[in-house]
Amino acid sequence: MRRELAWRVFAGEYNDSTLEIKGVGEKTPSHIITPLGSKVNRLFVVGVLTDVENVSEGGEFVRAHISDPTGVFTLYSGQFQQDATDQLLNIDAPAFVAVVGKIRTYTPDDGELYVSIRPETVREVTADARARWILETCRQTKQRIGAVTEAMKMNEPNAGELRNLGYSRELSEGIVAALKEYDTVDISKYLAIVRESLQYITPSKEAAPDLHLEEVIEKKEAKKEAKTKKPAEKKEKASKELKSDDSEETENTVLDAIKKLEGEDGAAWDLIMENCKKAGLDEDSIEEALTSLMDKGFIFEPVLGTIKTT
């Protein structure tokens, strides 16, 4: 079987995906179609590993988060990816890591799609590797923006016409699928993502937005050399939370509800919904809070449809 290529997609685009095309049978792989038409089965990501934790009791099943200039990738790795799991557990976060991985999806009863990554390879890398990745991902995201823009001009977007314009077969097919799924693709959002990401690698008078992160890492390196190991509160520092108080409050309400419901086996998705609605929250914001809590690592899903605090 042919190897699937590894897409360069920012977290901000990947996590917006709501369409998965499942492969039929053993030989056709599944793909996630991102809003800009990436047809992803495998990705290559370089970013900052912010936290790793074991989310299953007894066995080894870890969740990790990797931050890029636009958002956070969630990774799940278990015993079937022993090398990757070991690497994740051995790297001292925060650290720059490069990950090659496959798509992973989860769809709760309400049908929404949650995307994450099942890593195949994880290695600690340098800041240069991240700069190269950001550059490459900017270039390719820009390319996709161009392709989507062209496709939207067509009476009936089709892969043949896109390929004639010089886009690859996979991207052309992905874009046609994306335009069917996403009624309106918010081009300006992705343009902004590329622009902001470029600032990370373009030296300018303005301080790069995540400079403090690099400092943390530099400090960490220094500490390593000085061999003075102290438990740092790097997690708090590393997670760059820009959330408003509002959503924080919602998250607290949801988290409390889960704690009240969970017992030993976790809390049922439906019950959480019900209780939070009683507390005056609407479905969308509850879901948003759950996703965010999961991203931050406060909760996880031991079984489909069941939430537990960590």
Binding site: R3, V46, A98, V125, C138, I145, T149, V194, L198
Partner: protein, 433 residues
Amino acid sequence: MNDDLSLYIDDILNALGDSSEKEVSREELEKELKKFIEYGVPLDHAKQTLIKKFGGSYVPPSTERVLVADLESGQNSVHVLCRVLHVSPKDITVKGEARKIFYGILGDESGSISFTAWKDFELEKGDVVEISNAYTKEWQGDTKLNFGDRTKIEKTDESKIPESIMEPKEYKVKDLRSGLGAVEVTARILELNKREVEVDGQKKNVFSGTLGDETGKAQYTSWHDFKLKEGDVVKIAGGYIKSWKGIPQLTFDEKANVEKVESSTISKKDIAPQKLLLYELVEKRGAMDVEVEGTVLEIRRGSGLVMRCPECNRVLVGTECSIHGSVEGVEDLRIKLVVDDGTGVVSGILDKESTEKLLGKTLDELKKMSETKGEESIVEEMNTILFSHRISLRGNALGDAFGITIIAKDAKLADIDVEVESERISKELEELS
């Protein structure tokens, strides 16, 4: 009504022809047909059912002729009128059974197309044939014509598609792909070898080698002595393209028109490796002498120190060669890696020289390292230096069912000026919005 019916019966009898397994009389057919009509079955469908019933294969009324250039994949019951430009037999195994199939190239005034005949239609080069009930399929990215059990092929008057109609079309070397017929190429002969082969009991000289223009390189085979020399720049009109592992091969014979042109038209230094994005290479399914760039995403198993058979150069398993048995192995060093640029992915194989250059260590130094720190330490070293780095590979790109493998003649880590590049993207972004 009766007249109509008898016309249909004629049709059925015609379709059954000699191939009919069961004898059937006119009267019997009429009876059967009338029964269908009583039940309100449309005549065409009734006719088709009866032909099937009596062992014939239904041939729909001859459809209109399609030009080769207009063929698309997934068409059934295609009717074409073509000249056979090339045909060769091929032995294949289908479900454990040996079968002989035929493949080649057909052309008409609009262009040419590859075909596969799943049985022997006794096609010969130069035949002009009327083909009905062929079907088209996409194979390796191109539309191909297929002839199966239902296909009818009839030889017809050669003047219907005179050879002169098939005006050679001009191509650049990079655009050559298998299935093209009546090709005209102007290129420089880079390599020339002569060998003797036996065709139908007769000894014949074959001239083959490499040619190239400013867009790329390809192989060629000439079945006629055109007195070519290395360094000649020639215009070859009237060849066709076969391919081996995705590498195009221009094949021509005495019928081709070969003409020397001013050798400065394509000077030696004009010929550079073809630079491609990986998706372009993947979609081409191979090419000669390419230069590509991508990120190393995996050091594959089999990288590191290996022992080779002194006879055949195969890598040994333990001390065993799969052909020559237990042998005294010759030490070698290689890297097998996966290179991916985000648009496509290829495998690369780096030889000892490239490996030593990239790792900055000789085979002997690596051997020592392996002895003291274990074999894994070499792979770890390769990962440290190469994983997540951009690499540039130059060499021949061979394609097969598993994708593309570049046999690297040269490999180097790519220089990237992140600042310059990011500024360029910023500018392009402004133009986009």
